[in-house]
Point group: C2
Chain length 290, copies 2
């Protein structure tokens, strides 16, 4: 059973789960576990790890259109080194402050592999689910895609300063709150744009027709991309960018943009069925978290 099958199983068993976060009486809660071998390339500082791990959960709160209130983290490492723990806590606290949430503590443990489990909390009276997209809506993304793909190339190239900078993304909490009154469906792009579109399509029982030329590509991608196919893969299938992917009525785009402090780009339309880019079927491939 791969993780997606297991997550579907978990979602089926639990009516409150299955979206980016669970919502119980207006309280939003989401949890993630990250491991050194799969989530923190060699060169990732503990400050960046704290920022990114807590940020990933804050992004799930943002994807519900909810305001983030607090986060906790459980930290496990082969040894509890004081300076590493301090750096991790600084990163966790700073990313919470960046979205006006509070880091309120956690748990510590020793284990064979550096592992972090983060939980973020939020609140909303009207969560934006993945299931509300309507044919005729447009589909948009915040910010630019490919930032994490570029970071991974930077780490591979030994440019760990650049890798760390790119790895510390800004969770789109304010954007999610601002989009909530306008968006019909929303999720974050943690599995990559292609997979996110497929997940929204499945949840909303619709299709998408998007244009590659319209996709906003992060500047750093051009520093590492080989050819155009590579550039496209970096922006659409590597994922872990934690931007928001949402649908909204075309006439709501201007109002939404006015409420946002980051770019909102229309990349295509919600259609009857099928997920296509420039008229061709877009494969459901991306980052399967393992």
């Amino acid at each position: 059973m791969d993780e997606r099958s297991a997550l579907r199983r978990l979602a089926a068993a639990l009516p409150a789960a299955g979206d980016d976060a669970a919502v119980v009486d207006g309280l939003v809660v989401t949890t993630d576990m990250l491991h050194e071998s799969t989530d923190f390339p060699s060169g990732t500082t503990r400050y960046t790890a704290g920022w990114r791990a807590v940020g990933a959960s804050l992004s799930d709160v943002a994807a519900m259109g909810a305001d983030a209130t607090a986060a906790v983290a459980a930290y496990a490492a082969p040894t509890l080194d004081e300076s590493e723990l301090d750096a991790f806590l600084d990163g966790a606290i700073d990313v919470c402050e960046a979205v006006d949430a509070r880091y309120v503590g956690g748990d510590l443990d020793t284990t064979g592999e550096f592992t972090v489990a983060t939980t973020a909390l939020g609140e909303t009276d009207a969560p934006v689910l993945r299931s509300g997209a309507n044919v005729g809506d447009v589909v948009c993304v915040t910010g630019a895609l490919g930032r994490t793909a570029a970071a991974l190339r930077a780490f591979d190239a030994g440019e760990s300063g650049r890798g760390n900078d790119l790895f510390r993304f800004a969770p789109r909490v304010a954007s999610g709150v601002a989009l909530a009154p306008h968006a019909t469906a929303m999720m974050d792009s943690s599995d990559g744009l292609a997979r996110s579109l497929h997940q929204l399509a499945e949840a909303s029982d619709v299709g998408f027709e998007v244009s590659w030329d319209a996709v906003p590509v992060h500047d750093a991608v051009d520093d590492y991309a080989g050819d155009d196919a590579d550039r496209r893969a970096m922006a659409t299938t590597v994922g872990e960018d934690f931007e928001l992917v949402c649908t909204l009525p075309a006439d709501a785009v201007d109002g939404a943009r006015d409420a946002l402090s980051v770019p909102l780009t229309v990349i295509g339309d919600v259609v009857d069925g099928g997920v296509r880019m420039d008229g061709e079927l877009l494969a459901d491939e991306g980052y399967t978290h393992e």
Copy 2:
């Protein structure tokens, strides 16, 4: 740096943490990470693991005198086996139902060692901290101690059915809520009675004089204890029993008992300084989570 030093460091950095759980605007949140090598002896079923891991976080909510509302878990294992995951989820859901909370989902991941991170949420207008004990109060425990020590002996003896039964404790959420109006200080006994008394003493700047004869010992202890010293160690230093240890004015004990559905036993008095059992200093030893 051992875990207690690290936790103190974390508590010092974060005003909202440092008790059994953090409290933010009436919302209680607590997180724990457990690992197969340190927390789940050979023979522990995944059902029991789900029950116990989520139960440990619910116990931290109970220790604040708060009502538990919801829990999530992040589950990581070398392979995502369907029947193991189902059993884990059943245990997680059942322990939540046992305390009228909701299990609302989680995260899945593969990693080298079976690892679970759980987060529980609760709510309270008046959390009971560790720091409110007054000289002249009495100190009490709920239920009986040594249950987990007996479970570990059962697992060691290959009696895994018994071990699993004993490992699935009932989180004292209803007891915590019932004690909250009476208790001046409270925590759970997850580090063992001896260490819990030292932690309450430090937080409240008081001492304790307790009587070993008064300590309620779980029936199963007598099936595994060697001599009286062993019996005492099983009940006071092994820990992980998840009972509540609390202080309250002596004249409040009867009222508290009436509100509880489990036994509440007075084991001693809050005094000026020093933690003593039968007049002798009680060593600050117990389970240091690693």
